[in-house]
Point group: C2
Chain length 800, copies 2
């Protein structure tokens, strides 16, 4: 006979082998639900939750920094809050509507709409766009008529220039003109060169200093950390107002400094900061870590929506790439946020073309089946580039992290900025703003294009007839552009590897797209010339007549950009949709799809992680990727701890420990929680208590209750155990006990355990065998086991 | 001391109160994992799975018709298959690639792409389109030059008619012309009327007879059943080849018969049939119910993609409305399937306009903020219509189900078809094909529109200048069109209620959209006239100048269509995206969004279920909706069975039952599975065995093993219990024992339990208290409890 549970007269199967104990239990029916613990404790239907409400201990249920949240608990808390609010609401408002629940849901719907306010974030994005443009042009010169105009705005109103020479106007002075008084000649070139480098270095220095002094979290793209946070990790201050302010300012500076980085990734971080700060206005979101993450998912969708002007792509990006827990409710909230963001952006009109999107292009020629071959080649290039970039960048970042070299971030940024500026200036394709470069590469050659890339012989002859490429033989301008583009490609590839990870805000979208666009344009021009000179080949004979405009090099650039971005991030659907929204035509989805998928497969062949997952692993955050499958046939008992020569699992018993014993267990171990069992003999599980909650509860009891001493008995049961007469007042800790811990049996395959952890967002899970507690599996155990199974050293995984 | 587990010398904590049993256990480390059951059973790492492999019993692991699948088990089976295939694959192919796993994944990627073959499905859709058009026109007349041409094709090549009169050509003869020889006059009108009704009745009769005789599952829209199947229910034959064939044929007939139904919903069913039949070519999909459902999710996306020409909308429809388990992998597979489907459809070009979409429209005027007010009004109308339709249709369907009246489906269809045809013929807006009506209502009035709806005074004056609506005063044609449209609206509303649920294939998308489009167009024309006659009102003064073309009635029709469809189905994002893909402009997303959301909220205020969920509940399938939250604070022990005066839970013990006892338990109970416990005294849970598997295993043992008698001992442990010398040969059933059943404690809030059921796709879950088995919760228990909590009679839920 077991002797546990003696305080509970109603507990089933306590006696010997009586015939049908289950009937006995069920015969008591609902009464059983009320009387657990005997003695008429009253109507405690939801013991755990009501206990929490009865004696709320401040701080219980919150998390430490760099800890993982418990999704299940957070969601329960939210539903409890919801029920309470509803009760109050139904008391307050007299409803003549059909059903109070429905009114509530309607009211709530309107409320949630007003909760997600993207406009401030969008305005910020508009300001960033405009400021970055202005600073960028400041490197070349200044507008005399109005200092705050960038080059384009400066020359916009000028009626002294023709359309073809719209970049040159008397109001706009280069630094050489301003200082030396002359526009041409080696002296002025050197002057411009010097001022370009000088401004680039100043911006870079300012950016890195601001980040270092005020907000260290403002560096990088932020997407890996946001993924970690969304998967349920706590990083305090990462989405705070300081990060927001400094990131906004330094993002402008970093983009203007000419470093090989973009502003799209950081914009997602900025959007999440806005979402987080706004969520503080609504206790519903700020007090609940799970609800807060729903807002952040929507905010990241709004961020991408603003960055690219692609609302649907933004939602899919949030769904595919960033989010961890994405209920359907979040889907349409994200959609709404993304939409409003896109529209506010259009009303600000930072691109000056009244278009929603960053690179709006329209092509006039269809694509032909044969062209799939170069598109797939571009996909292969994108995959190779992605794999190479991830390996090289991670190796470099690991070096930065592990050696002394990482201690001088300012010096590093200055060095990279100096090299970038010095090498970039002579080449027109690297000197200009990267987004402008991409736009130029995407654009089809029309009669009004003054770009060197469009110097076909037809244009040289002075024929301005449309289509311009009709006589598609390349003129010398195209050949020199090809050379410059090739050099720019090599330069971008090298600099991007060293730039991503610097201590300034740095996005990866634009540099990756630039590399792909350059490669794509080169391939596109090559195919075009091939088709022109060999139009009698059987490949071209069918569809490419002499003089016809059959190849669109701009389309190749776009496909290449998508392929390279896909290789780096391993996105598929969201990437295709983003690019599809850029062009607005369903026509080109098949080429894009082919290239993006090829790129993903080629990239996956060298390693399944995208750059963001690789950086998450480098950061050492315990994040379980929702995408990768767990392919090994191990069982829970092989992963659980204690194992081998480990010390035994630290457990608490439900009613026979003293406060001193409890405290010694807490101080001797470092784990975050302890299983509570009936007794050491039976090892039957009662519940789970978190270390933080126990500490807070003991502190609280010491402050508020008298007579709590070191030899006070601690109990987790409903009623105090019978104690000797002279013993001190016992301490009841039932309110912090989680009476519904997740358990699996030791025979459960790990693939199921991993699935449970992912889908329910658990922190830990207890392992039982035939009803007895055997061990515990935490998220970190799973990550270590996965590393071990992938033949990596499990100790190599650093956890924060 | 407990006496159980005596056959297992290594079982932990078997003895008395020794100090630290966990250390003892963990000291044995991996050895423990190998030796469960003692006696050197060898390296049985994954006991459950390997046992299954060692002695595969045919039939174990399959499901009965109208049963729910176990997602976790299916996914485990698939991973096991995957591992086996990989082992074979790595033996077979010498790989010089970086890593065999990566090669595999690449190979697999290509394989999965070829798995989803939408072309056959798309061709089918094209054929349906063309055939339905032809049959529909057959009701009016026949093409003399080529019988198989429909009206449009017949007159296409005719050069005897002007563009404005393109509908009239000598080759096309109405029935009156053909039979009576005269085109005008009351006689020919009556003749045409008669032939119209005659053909409609013939088509309807043929359709319902085919459905009744050959494939009863081919009726209805199919989406509720597909949702049920995707949520893990087995309905054999629902997606079979007979259903496919009959549904395709009868769909054409039903559409042509002029009944108020559409072909879009049934196309999703047809697509899923295709997906299911194709999956039989690949054992990977046909043998695994979970994998099969991934194919079906992709197929339903392809179905919507084909129906509307909206690939992204199709994917989102599959995600938001249909699918239950939607991993990211399925996302891009669906996307791929939807894309290819859309492109194959375009190459077939059934709409003859080389557009992908069914209703392609382009509007030229922007919308103004004030117009949001009528758009929201349309949303309210859509929500009211949706709520009314759902209630009325469900009431009618319930009546059909419960009274004698449902026994005459053919008569019902004929009656409805006759009423429809007779009432529809006089009104041109109900006589024509519903999709053409929608197209006409969506289209903006241009100079080439000959429609009655576009008879503005400007056109009457002979001015053909664009925009046509410049002098937007309505001419009498518009007023009579308004009357006819109002009558058509009432007619459609009434007929759709009685039509949806008839025993013919019937979709709801097109009728709902038609109702919304009619209402929208009426509102649009009203606002237009208001703005014309009162252009000095402060509302219009700002933006609507005299003579300007400021209101687009077609846009109102589109917004109304989206609102009504949203009210009926309660879709949000996917609906907006589908309509957005129809127009191709981001411009009008805000009006659509406003209307669709208003419609959803208004509809939700009268009942949260969409029409598909309502029909699922009417059908009595145990489907847990993934969307609705469980808002009640009940605990698992209040829901589990046994409860109250129930008989005790039927349990099996692991090693002390005879075959006769086991069989008597099976025959006395009707539950689908039994928990296996250590002993009646301890009630500690070992595992779970399914009724079907036990029955199959006993049959199998009787056939193959000798010496199995009624008093044979049945055991679920690794090794046989020690038996008296003269006892018959025992029967080992460990291979069918699920050693990792899901358990929750009795204190677990039901919201968590519901969450676990939904996310992991469980069939049942065992309830324990302090390590002892208390009861069981099945999916049906949860559904009954939810009904009870919603103040419905739990017995009113019928289960199949």
């Amino acid at each position: 006979m077991e002797e546990e549970d003696s305080a509970d007269p109603y507990l089933p199967y306590d006696g010997g082998g009586d015939a049908i104990p289950l009937q006995e239990l069920s015969g008591r029916g609902p009464n059983y639900a009320m009387s657990n613990g005997g003695g008429g404790a009253g109507a405690s239907i939801s013991t755990h939750l009501l206990d929490l409400l009865e004696e709320p201990i401040p701080g219980v249920g919150t998390y430490d920094d760099f800890h993982t949240i418990d999704w299940v608990r957070e969601k329960c808390k939210d539903r409890e809050r919801h029920r309470k609010a509803k009760r109050q609401h139904s008391r307050r408002i007299a409803h003549n509507f059909s059903d109070s629940r429905d009114t509530w849901s309607l009211w709530q719907g309107i409320q949630t709409i007003t909760d997600y306010k993207p406009p401030p974030m969008t305005s910020l994005a508009g300001v960033i766009d405009i400021a970055a443009d202005w600073l960028n042009d400041l490197k070349e010169g200044v507008c005399l008529s109005a200092m705050w105009f960038n080059h384009e705005q400066c020359c916009w109103d000028s009626n002294e220039t023709t359309f073809a020479e719209r970049d040159k106007c008397p109001q706009w002075k280069t630094w050489a003109e301003l200082i030396l008084g002359q526009a041409e000649g080696p002296g002025s070139y050197i002057m411009n060169y010097f001022m370009f480098t000088f401004w680039a270095l100043s911006f870079a220095f300012l950016a890195v200093s601001l980040v270092k002094v005020f907000a260290p979290y403002a560096c990088g793209s932020g997407i890996p950390e946001i993924k970690t946070i969304l998967s349920g990790f706590i990083i305090r201050g990462y989405l705070g107002k300081w990060t927001l302010m400094i990131k906004t300012i330094t993002l402008v500076l970093a983009v203007a400094s000419g470093l090989s980085l973009g502003k799209e990734g950081p914009l997602v971080h900025v959007a999440c900061c806005c979402g987080n700060i706004f969520s503080y206005l609504f206790p519903k979101y700020s007090k609940n870590e799970a609800k807060k993450r729903e807002v952040l998912s929507a905010a990241s969708a709004a961020g991408v929506s603003v960055a690219f002007g692609a609302p649907i792509g933004g939602v899919l990006f949030s769904l595919e790439e960033v989010s961890y827990y994405f209920p359907l409710k979040t889907l349409w909230r994200s959609f709404f946020a993304a939409l409003v963001a896109a529209f506010v952006l259009r009303s600000i009109n930072p691109f000056g073309n009244s278009r929603l999107v960053l690179f709006y292009v329209e092509y006039h020629t269809p694509w032909y089946l044969f062209e799939l071959f170069p598109f797939i080649l571009l996909g292969v290039f994108g995959g190779l580039w992605g794999a190479f970039f991830i390996r090289a960048n991670i190796a470099w970042c690991r070096r930065r992290k592990s050696t002394r070299f990482g201690k001088y971030p300012v010096l590093e940024v200055i060095t990279v900025a100096a090299i970038t500026a010095i090498v970039a200036f002579p080449n027109p394709y690297t000197r200009q703003n990267t987004s402008e470069l991409i736009k130029e590469l995407f654009t089809d050659c029309g009669p009004l294009e003054s770009s060197q890339l469009c110097q076909y012989r037809s244009q040289m002859n002075g024929s301005q007839a449309y289509p311009a490429g009709s006589d598609a033989a390349a003129a010398p301008g195209v050949y020199s552009a090809m050379w410059q583009l090739s050099l720019a490609l090599v330069f971008k590839i090298i600099m991007t590897i060293f730039t991503f990870g610097l201590k300034v805000p740095s996005g990866l979208f634009i540099p990756s797209m630039a590399i792909g666009a350059i490669a794509g344009r080169i391939v596109g021009i090559a195919v075009e010339q091939l088709a022109y000179y060999h139009h009698d080949w059987f490949l071209f004979r069918e569809w490419c007549e002499v003089g016809a405009d059959c190849i669109t090099p701009g389309l190749y650039a776009m496909v290449g950009a998508a392929a390279c971005l896909g290789g780096v991030t391993r996105m598929t659907v969201s990437l295709v949709v983003i690019v599809f929204e850029l062009t607005g035509g369903l026509e080109y989805i098949v080429p894009l799809m082919a290239a993006v998928m090829t790129s993903k497969w080629v990239g996956d062949a060298f390693g399944r992680e995208g750059i963001y997952e690789a950086h998450i692993r480098l950061n050492g955050s315990p994040s379980l990727d929702a995408k990768e499958e767990f392919p090994h046939p191990t069982l829970a008992r092989e992963v659980m701890r204690p194992r081998g020569n480990d010390p035994p699992l630290a457990v608490l018993t439900q009613d026979d420990m003293t406060l001193a014993e409890l405290q010694s267990i807490i101080s001797q171990t470092s784990c975050n929680g302890f299983p509570v069992i009936v007794s050491k003999e039976s090892q039957r599980l009662v519940g789970f208590a978190l270390r933080r909650d126990i500490t807070i509860a003991i502190e609280n009891a010491r402050r508020k209750q008298e007579g709590i001493m070191l030899n006070s008995r601690v109990y987790f049961t409903q009623h105090a155990p019978t104690l000797p007469a002279d013993s001190p007042r016992p301490l009841k800790l039932r309110s912090i006990l989680d009476m519904s811990p997740f358990t699996v049996t030791d025979h459960t395959p790990m693939e199921i355990v991993v699935d449970i952890f992912r889908k329910l967002g658990l922190r830990q899970c207890l392992v039982t065998h035939n009803g007895r507690l055997l061990g515990i599996i935490t998220k970190k155990d799973i990550l270590r086991h996965m590393a071990q199974m992938a033949n990596q050293d499990p100790e190599s995984i650093m956890f924060n």
